[in-house]
Point group: C2
Chain length 362, copies 2
């Protein structure tokens, strides 16, 4: 299993420089590293020629520039293959992958899937994702959890719906007359490579700090620090463990460590052209586990759910309860928690903030 | 009609500062301005308290912080109302807007729709959108054009598909037994407020430089300049007119104007706390039309399509032709051009780059 590492922070603080230095540090320690991003400035900053295929850039380091148009094209060809297996006269075969434009949301789905494939390839010990590092990265990492929720919630509603109930006795026999194989929707949806399993695997990987971790990157600028702190809270909402803070040497003074307590702040020296070693030395080891708080703890006996939400206060957080689910809204993100056995259906008795944790009692 | 203005450029170059200065300049000239963004740093930088409702911040200037969770909630309630009109027993009524998480792509759709609503409100002369200013903003502005393409292309394929043809004689009568009104999919889809019309209106607005314009913002840093140049090309791919370049006073020297020819580069002085007037004076007037090249010109008589694609060369651009459509791929974006009458179905005879234009001959 590879560790996927990413860096969150305000634009311009030097996240790409940090990503490259981290790759070099890990490679020097003998790890096989892949650095990947979508923005061409990764290649410009690295001084490397990158394409959409992974290629060696330095000893132990491969690099690549993700291209949504090409990932979409590849995905489309696979979809056409699946369709051709099930339909006697496939309808999609006349639409070509080369024509497909990229709509919002596709980048995130395609990139997350590419990360999954490179992680599974077994060719790397660490993947460093140099993404936008903002809310858009958090949305991407939230896909498995949020999409599973939509799945779970809408499946039930649709199954109960009058339209679906009235139509299904007609649709199934007619459909099987057109399809080239015996096929049921359940069969496809519950396939090991089907959406449900992929989402579950994604949730497990993202919540595991030995497989997925982030660092906050900030300069000493006040806005950059506030932004990094807000992404720290945002990362908890998608279940990512933030392992530490990296201070880049832009501006004077130093980062206010109390904003990021209990994380450690590592201050990087100024980068001078080509001299990476001082930066590499100053970086923490991303493979060490550290003592970063876990995003979510459920204590069934104490009837408590503890959600780590640094940087938020009670007024900025909203709780909603619907059936067995608890929804937490904070900082333009929502997280649905499917409560375990004996908390299901119990009403929230109280909620308070304590040491950065939102503690919900039932 | 309001002018929607946005700023494209690398993170950290000072786009938000420029957005605020532009708002102040327009307000001083008597224009009613709304500044809106999704990132809380807009409020921090402005020193204003912003919420998801537009509120006066300065004379002639309202501000607001877009919240996807709340826009989604509002949209969901509207969708439930529509469903309740058509279905005897609505299925969605048991899912509450407060539960819905935000998936990638939703931000862009919701923000674009909010821009449309504020533009239509007639309350403002200028909307200043302080968005991420990167590929994600370009994807958002590409929605009307790209979604119309998917619509057009898939509608035909589905209508021809064996599954749909076999099912439709069954689905329609059964569905009308469940629905509470006489209803056909065509009726809903071609409704004046339906998706087809909205997309068409969006395409028209975005392609009109008196209604939608962007500026590139860059510091004198080489990477920032290259990034701005690549977004200039990217803006053409979504049909946005870029009116000029704004140089922020970070770093030494000045921007290489040849990268942005024929645009004018306006150099801003350093911002010192609270003293906006020098910045306002140095900014160009966003309501002036200038001489910015139009993204697309089709000359039916000369059998030529001219696409302005600054910053790209022939090797970075790929053309694909499928039926009446021409697809242009450049910089991880694709644009489908529906060729007019006498160019439809004609094969591309040649393509060359000249003065920043890709000229395709038929």
């Amino acid at each position: 299993m590879a560790l996927v590492l990413t860096f969150l922070g305000k634009g311009g603080v030097g996240r790409t420089t940090v990503a490259i230095a981290a790759a070099k540090k890990l490679a020097q320690a003998g790890q096989r590293v892949l650095v990947l991003g979508q923005d061409p400035s990764l290649a410009w900053q690295w001084g490397a020629t990158l394409s959409e295929t992974a290629q060696g850039v330095e000893a132990n380091i491969d690099g690549l520039l993700l291209s949504s148009t090409h990932l979409l094209e590849r995905g489309w060809e696979k979809l056409k293959e699946v369709e051709a297996q099930y339909l006697r006269s496939p309808a999609l075969k006349n639409i070509y992958g080369e024509e497909l434009g990229v709509l919002p949301g596709m980048d995130e789905v395609l990139v997350l899937n590419a990360l999954r494939e490179y992680e599974l390839s077994g060719r790397y010990d660490v993947l460093i994702y140099d993404g936008p590092g903002n809310l858009s990265t958090l949305r991407m990492l939230g896909i498995p959890e949020i999409a599973s929720w939509y799945w779970r919630r809408f499946q039930k509603v649709l199954a109960d719906s009058e339209v679906v109930q009235t139509l299904s006795p007609f649709v199934q026999p007619v459909a099987s007359a057109v399809l080239s194989v015996n096929w049921s929707p359940d069969q496809m949806l519950n396939h090991p490579d089907g959406p449900q399993n992929l989402l579950q695997q994604g949730k497990t990987a993202i919540a595991d700090p030995s497989r997925f971790a982030a660092y906050l990157v900030t300069s000493t600028d006040t806005l950059a620090q506030k932004t990094a702190q807000s992404y720290w809270g945002g990362a908890q909402q998608v279940g990512i463990t933030v392992k530490g803070v990296i201070q880049t040497p832009l501006g004077n003074g130093s980062v206010d460590a109390s904003l990021f307590n209990p994380l450690t702040v590592a201050a990087l020296p100024t980068y001078s052209q080509g001299n990476w070693q001082p930066l590499m030395d100053a970086l923490p080891n991303p493979q060490a586990m550290g003592s970063a708080p876990r995003p979510l703890e459920i204590d069934v006996n104490a009837r408590q759910v503890k959600i780590f939400l640094p940087g938020f206060d009670k007024r900025q957080v909203k709780l909603t309860q619907s059936g067995p689910e608890l929804t937490i809204e904070a900082g333009d993100q929502r997280r649905n928690i499917d409560l375990p056995g004996n908390l299901r259906g119990k009403a929230v008795a109280g909620a308070k903030f304590q040491g950065g944790y939102l503690i919900v009692s039932f």
